[in-house]
Amino acid sequence: MDLTWHWNILRILFLKGFIPTVKLVPIAMFLALLVGVVGGSLRVLRIPVLNHLLGIYAYVMRGVPTILLMFICYFVLPTGRNPMNAAILALVLSNGAYMMEIVRGGLEAIDRGQHDAAKAVAMNFWQSIRYIILPQAVLLVLPALVGQLVLLIKVTALASVIGYVELTKMALNLNGSTMSPLPIFFYSGCFYFVVCHSLKWVADRCERITKERIMGKAPIHGLA
């Protein structure tokens, strides 16, 4: 167990573990965001039956553990027994539901007066969405969405249970062949930590910028 050994472990974990993990994230994030934005906007409109269906979808996704969702996507849903597709589908289903609620919360947090004000200056519906509502809503939901991205990255670890070889599965395989769990799981934890911690830093910054934009730059006690 000299330095070369550690270097090799890190290299394998990065190339064969971290890269596949990173491959999952953009696709899953994009699709989940799509589900979230479309679903969230639809929920704000309160279309009778659809609203209930989306509500049930969100409730079920909040109740069912993601690891079970992985199994369901792999064994039950027609993903062709392809671990990557199943993992992405599970990530999109669960995170999409959370993002839907985040987007809905952001849209509903905007005061009705803003709509009325837009109407008062003769904007039509789409203009008021484009120039008045969206800029504020994006600012409001951005921190929560980045936070959700952090959760999504952590949850990709669960893709290992359906045999998608990513960081955690690679660590497990390496542990099986080298029998030295401490450094291996420590290193794989470090990869997750570095990515999530930097993203959390971004989320905190987003939040601060949002607060500055909305409440002005004046130092407000307890918010700075």
Partner: protein, 223 residues
């Protein structure tokens, strides 16, 4: 693929046993992580520099490394150090360390929201720091964060599903077993999902009851 009731009729005892195990782990981990998280939050009020540094490091690691990796680290790693753990102990330890970090942050938020005047008032009746935390600050802080803590209990329920990877016989394991035995995936995993949603529903109802009971300062009466 369709839902086969005769499979469920034959194998439901496995799922029921899984249900009991899931409830047990959820309750145990709820108690341990609440206690541990609150303890960490209290330690942070003392503002000892080195201790604070270590606690912040722990909280960040606990929150930003996936529970699965933490579980593997404890389950495989600690025995390599010569600390042998039984499966249930490793399971409860992993969830407690992970959720404790989240709960510590929630409780710390509550403690921070208590005005400085309360600390000073405690000082002025010659309470020391421990007494102030015990009798003045913590009861009010806990009362404030009850909704967030209740919201967090469902995460602990979902965390127990991960224990399937170290062969704890909870609902997800039971579903996997039935799936292996009968190849009737929809029946197995569908029933498991339904059980989790039912448990989630129960937790939410109990949670809102607790929230309502504590709205008028019930914690204050207890202490």
């Amino acid at each position: 693929m369709h839902f086969e009731f005769h499979v469920l009729a034959k194998h439901y005892p496995v799922l029921l046993k899984g249900l009991v195990v899931t409830i047990e782990y959820t309750l145990i981990c709820l108690v341990t992580s609440l206690c541990f998280g609150t303890f960490i939050a209290i330690l942070r009020t003392f503002r000892i520099r080195l201790l604070d540094f270590l606690l912040i490091a722990y909280i960040n690691i606990g929150r930003e490394v996936p529970l699965l990796v933490q579980l593997y680290f404890i389950f495989f790693g600690l025995p390599a150090l010569g600390i042998s753990l039984s499966t249930p102990v490793a399971a409860v330890l992993a969830i407690t360390l992970n959720e404790g970090a989240f709960i510590a942050e929630i409780v710390r938020g509550g403690i921070q929201s208590i005005s400085r005047g309360q600390w000073e008032a405690a000082r002025s009746v010659s309470m020391n720091r421990v007494q102030a935390v015990r009798h003045i600050i913590l009861p009010q802080a806990l009362n404030k964060v009850i909704p967030s803590l209740v919201g967090h209990t469902s995460y602990i329920l979902k965390d127990t599903a991960i224990l399937t990877v170290i062969a704890v016989d909870e609902i997800t394991s039971a579903a996997g077993y039935i799936n292996d035995m009968t190849l009737s995936s929809l029946t197995a995993f569908g029933s498991a999902a339904a059980m989790y949603v039912a448990l989630f529903w129960v937790l939410q109802h109990v949670g809102s009851r607790v929230e309502r009971a504590f709205r008028y300062g019930e914690v204050l009466k207890w202490t």
